[in-house]
């Protein structure tokens, strides 16, 4: 496999000791194992996420992404810009579309960027890591490198919202995307069919409307259990956090006994490619993924 290089935008939650630190750890391990080189965008800022609109408004929000793209274009020319966080990818790609399709928006963003000595040119594609795996490598290629297949591991692939809508992966259905199931199967695991694959976890409203969001999360976990899943796997840091950390709260509220691990696709791939539990960041799960840890190289 030829070495591939990308301009990498990790995002706020994937910083040292932030809430999806294990996503960063496992992404780095996974990319090493897949011979992918990540060049971090220097001095990147927050994308504004999906909740920045109320105080931020339109142009300030788009300018946040314009700065990141401009920095990426300057430092890593000729590369695609790749995000691992669903909200980072969505905000950045959406901002790029607005600037590319609306000259006034682009000029306004560039007028603001000038204050930071930068210019947005729109020369890079903005992609999610899942696109790199599926489109640039492909399932057959991914399958070839598996050293440690995840045999007998039943996994609910939870795609959620923002890696699926409004853009999603090319050729995938919004109602039943299959790329995550295909990644699970390529790693030797069993992707269980269940009916809450693209249900919203509440997103940022898990903080402001906890009861309403926890109802969503309960539906997702219940369906995963009912269809025989032993763990849930997701491409989104907010999905991961929401579905993992509120299980105790939901148990209190609904009298359930949820205790299902929630991991990232990058953790699965790291383990299947022969990485250790530590390489995969599995020591940072709130609910330990015991079965995956047992499969991992000792």
């Amino acid at each position: 496999m030829a070495k591939k290089t990308y301009s990498f935008y990790p995002g706020c939650s994937s910083q040292t000791k932030a809430s999806s630190f294990n996503y960063l750890t496992s992404t780095k391990s996974m990319c090493n194992l897949l011979d992918i080189e990540l060049k971090e965008v220097p001095d990147w800022n927050c994308c504004g996420a999906s909740i920045g609109y109320a105080e931020g408004g339109e142009l300030p929000r788009i300018t946040l992404s314009a700065r990141n793209i401009a920095l990426s274009e300057q430092a890593n020319p000729g590369m695609d810009m790749v995000a691992t966080c669903a909200a980072c990818w969505l905000s950045t790609r959406e901002s790029k579309e607005r600037m590319d399709h609306n000259t006034q928006m682009r000029n306004d963003a560039n007028e603001a960027l000038k204050e930071a000595g930068l210019v947005y040119q729109g020369t890079q594609n903005v992609r999610h890591m899942a696109e790199v795996l599926v489109e640039d490598l492909g399932f057959d290629e991914l399958k070839k490198g598996v050293k440690n297949p995840l045999r007998d591991l039943k996994i609910a692939g939870y795609v959620g919202c923002q890696t699926n809508r409004p853009f999603g992966l090319a050729g995938e259905s919004f109602e039943n995307p299959v790329y995550l199931d295909n990644i699970i199967e390529a790693m030797g695991g069993e992707a269980v069919p269940y009916d809450q694959k693209v249900t919203c976890c509440g997103g940022a409203l898990a903080f402001s409307e906890p009861e309403k969001s926890q109802k969503q999360i309960k539906d997702i976990i219940e369906s995963a259990y009912d269809h025989g899943a032993e763990m849930i796997v997701t491409p989104c840091p907010l999905c991961q956090a929401n579905v993992e950390i509120y299980q105790g709260e939901i148990n209190k509220r609904y009298g359930t006994k949820f205790n299902i691990p929630v991991a990232y696709y990058s953790q699965l791939i790291t383990v299947a490619y022969g990485g250790s539990a530590q390489d995969a960041g599995l020591d940072s799960q709130l609910i330990r993924a015991t079965k995956l840890e047992e499969i991992a190289k000792k």
Partner: protein, 199 residues
């Protein structure tokens, strides 16, 4: 707004709300209402909000809690037969109501969204610890301690899992070029206020 016999609220939305020019394209099918995860909690589903805008119900729309229930799941956007960017229109209406200062009093998502933006605007990156504390302590110190105690198992779990850093309070993550970052946001705000003035 200049006086005009046509519906002035629709024009106001078209000119001053993000993606507001799409509102008149709604054909009232209701797919958005049926697709919304928080559907049971809205006072008015999107297609009703759009019709109310066309009917000139300015106050009812802008003081509604409806658009504050948007989780940004984009279900409505991908299902809308007319391809309206409904999520962004909802965000735009929420932002406009917020700027006018007429959002429902104590709206929790308005509070969180404001906290989030101010948090990231300070250093350029989100400080998750300060953000969580900001939510717990919104109703004063003693309620904050109670909230934090109620969530302490989550907090301690995150701390133990190395996914929450107590030192974020004193040495937060952030961009290096803070002056450039702040100047950029200030300029963007100036232009935004010029493009979308408050009525």
């Amino acid at each position: 707004m200049s006086e005009n016999y046509s519906n002035s609220f629709l024009r106001e939305v078209e000119e001053r709300v993000e993606e507001g020019h799409w509102v008149k394209m709604c054909m009232q099918c209701g797919v958005c209402a049926g697709s919304c995860p928080f559907g049971p909690h809205w006072a008015h589903p999107p297609q009703e909000i759009f019709m109310m805008i066309r009917a000139g119900k300015r106050e009812e729309v802008l003081t509604s809690d409806s658009m504050w229930m948007c989780t940004s799941c984009y279900n409505c956007v991908v299902r809308c037969p007319r391809k309206l960017p409904i999520t962004h229109i909802m965000h735009g209406l929420a932002n406009y109501a917020h700027r006018l200062g007429i959002a429902p009093k104590g709206q929790p998502t308005e509070h969180f969204a404001t906290l989030f933006w101010n948090n990231l605007a300070e250093t350029g990156r989100v400080n998750e610890l300060k953000l969580s504390l900001g939510i717990y302590f919104r109703d004063g110190f003693s309620q904050g301690i109670k909230n934090a105690m109620a969530m302490q198992s989550v907090g301690l779990g995150m701390l133990k899992a190395k996914r929450l850093n107590p030192f974020e309070l004193f040495a937060p993550h952030g961009v290096k070029d803070k002056s450039g970052f702040h100047a950029m946001l200030k300029k963007a705000r100036e232009i935004e206020d010029r493009r979308k003035p408050i009525a």
